[in-house]
């Protein structure tokens, strides 16, 4: 398209269509607002009420406002399904800002105040922030707690250097600490519960017994052949799938055939996972529609 075309005035139909969309949007917003005001008015009417009842009415008012806000935000997000639009972008921006702030508030009150500010200034913290705090019993205890808090304080300040244009390399020290701690925790947990325990579970499910107790109280154990079959199949499944993921050996001959069987088991696994995923996503969607239909509009 040439510059002349780009600078040419828009045809009059496009301008009037935008105007009518704007008018439609304003009308719908006005309609919703007036219905909301009427609902709020009915929730807060009759000022000559018992204070406890008035408080409950006030609480109901805020609940009504909240439900309307939630419903409009929900519809704003759903509008993305039709087309990307400014309403969706506004809702998205609100979500990003509000949730980031919520995380930060949570981190401040649950981590920084009790674990950083409290050891450094215990008397101030107890008087103003955390009255349930136990003060250090002695100066020695105070200095001991302070010494333990200084290290994460310094590392935390170093982490904030990441925001600076220069000197960001300083933040690698606390990052290394975080990575090292995580590596140490995960190494042992992975080996214990995801390797040893899983191999044990797979192996122990092969021989399965049926136990029956007769009238005399004698317990008889018989082999549950169906259970044994399932156990053997489980072991075959685990071994063939592991063979498929073992890429250090070329998948040829017997190894190739075994890996192929492993792929079939993997396809069944992923098919089942897909089915479960669909179920999960549909549940989330049905919960949103339940909110809109029952809590907001009062149907059902």
């Amino acid at each position: 398209m040439s510059n002349a075309d780009a600078n040419a005035p828009r045809p009059p139909q496009q301008g009037s269509r935008r105007g009518s969309y704007r008018l439609l949007f304003i009308s719908i917003a006005a309609l919703f607002t007036s219905v909301a005001v009427m609902q709020m008015a009915s929730a807060a009417q009759d000022p000559a009420l018992d204070p406890a009842v008035a408080a409950e009415k006030w609480s109901n008012l805020w609940t009504t406002v909240g439900i309307w806000v939630a419903a409009l935000l929900t519809l704003g997000i759903f509008s993305f399904l039709y087309k990307d639009n400014p309403v969706y972008k506004v809702c998205e921006s609100i979500f990003v800002g509000a949730s980031a702030a919520y995380y930060m508030v949570n981190a401040f009150w649950t981590s920084l105040v009790p674990k950083l500010i409290a050891p450094i200034a215990p008397a101030f913290t107890k008087a103003n922030l955390l009255p349930e705090l136990t003060l250090p019993a002695s100066d020695q205890a105070y200095y001991s707690d302070l010494a333990l808090a200084v290290v994460p304080l310094i590392l935390g300040i170093m982490l904030l250097f990441r925001l600076l244009p220069k000197g960001g390399w300083i933040s690698v020290w606390p990052l290394a600490f975080v990575i090292g701690t995580t590596a140490g925790i995960r190494l042992l947990a992975a080996i214990e519960t995801d390797v040893l325990a899983q191999v044990s579970s797979a192996g122990s499910s092969v021989i399965v017994y049926n136990e029956t107790t007769d009238a005399a109280g004698v317990v008889t154990r018989t082999i549950d052949w169906a259970g044994v079959g399932k156990g053997v199949l489980s072991v075959i499944c685990v071994l063939t799938v592991l063979t498929y993921f073992f890429f250090s050996v070329e998948h040829k001959g017997a190894v190739g055939k075994t890996a192929r069987v492993g792929i079939w088991f993997l396809m069944i696994t992923f098919g089942a996972s897909f089915g479960l995923t669909v179920m999960g996503r549909i549940t989330l969607l049905s919960q949103r529609f339940e909110f809109l239909l029952k809590d907001w509009l009062g149907f059902g």
């Binding site: 995801d194 995923t277 669909v278 049905s286």
Partner: protein
């Protein structure tokens, strides 16, 4: 226009605007809600194992319940959390609530008020139930609790020192509980409770995990050896709800224990639609191949 008139139905279907599919999905979910469709569930092995695990505990056992989810997963997990809480309270078990998710605390607060206190108003805070709240640290919290709970939680959520809470008297670590229940939407959650809580002392307490259907595959290997009970997604929740309601029907607000089964109504229509879409898509592909071969 001329291309459309020459193309067959399947070719046009293959080019359908996806917004029609979105509309079909929306209608498939809205219709059962408006029609109030409900279907009977038949409890399967995992839901039954979960029920039996809680039933087998002596009355008055201490249960640690970790509600590790946020509003994004509330639809799937809230029904099972409600049923688990009501079941434990009906059996007379003492419940200690906590969460590993920062976004989980208000939900935890609302659930305790809406289910535990509405269904069991006679319960006393401190002796029958306690809320520890949220602790940051992901799996580190579970790891520390497996050795020293009072160091991790110096006070409960109300600010009472742990030593002064009657329910937690003498509870030094996780082995002080007879059951740990984790209703989780991901990380950290039930997997971490098994790895870091149950791993060091496998027989100290039973573990029940409730999870979203998306996460279910990750937890399946742990059942039944490392996890005595498991509830998978909304179907597991619906089955378990049925078992709990049959045994312990609440006198007030019974509908709060039916959310799982209500949401299963939408599942029927939506799953039929998914199957129809997959079949239709393959028919379109086959028709396209046949047309290409004929040309």
């Amino acid at each position: 226009m001329s291309q459309d008139s020459n193309d067959g139905l399947f070719a046009r279907l293959g080019r359908i605007d996806r917004r029609w599919i979105f509309l079909a999905m929306a209608l498939a979910i809205i219709a059962p809600i408006l029609m109030r469709l409900r279907f009977e569930e038949e409890p399967q092995r995992m839901a039954q194992a979960t029920f039996d695990t809680i039933e087998a505990l002596p009355a008055g056992s201490k249960v640690l319940m970790s509600l590790d989810y946020d509003p994004s997963s509330e639809g799937e997990l809230q029904p099972m959390a409600n049923a688990l809480i009501h079941h434990c309270a009906s059996r007379g078990h003492k419940i200690v609530f906590m969460t590993l998710w920062p976004f989980g605390t208000p939900l935890l607060d609302k659930t305790v008020k809406r289910i535990l206190l509405e269904y069991h108003p006679q319960l006393k805070y401190g002796t029958d139930y306690v809320t520890l709240g949220y602790k940051p640290g992901l799996e580190g919290v579970v790891k520390l609790m497996s050795s020293d709970i009072p160091k991790q939680f110096t006070t409960d959520k109300q600010g009472t020192p742990i030593g002064e809470v009657p329910l937690l008297a003498g509870v030094k670590d996780l082995s002080g509980f007879q059951l740990v229940v984790s209703v989780s939407a991901g990380y950290p959650g039930a997997k971490e409770w098994v790895q870091f809580g149950n791993g060091p002392t496998p027989d100290a307490f039973a573990v029940i995990g409730g999870t979203t259907a998306v996460q279910a595959a990750q937890l399946l290997p742990y059942f039944p050896k490392q996890m005595e009970g498991m509830l998978l997604g909304i179907k597991g929740a619906a089955e378990y709800e049925l078992l709990v309601q049959k045994a312990y029907m609440p006198e007030r607000f019974p509908e709060r224990l039916e959310d799982g089964r209500i949401r299963m109504g939408s599942q029927v229509f939506a799953h039929m639609l998914m199957i129809a879409l997959i079949v239709l898509g393959n028919i379109v592909m086959a028709a396209g191949r046949a047309r290409g071969g004929a040309k």
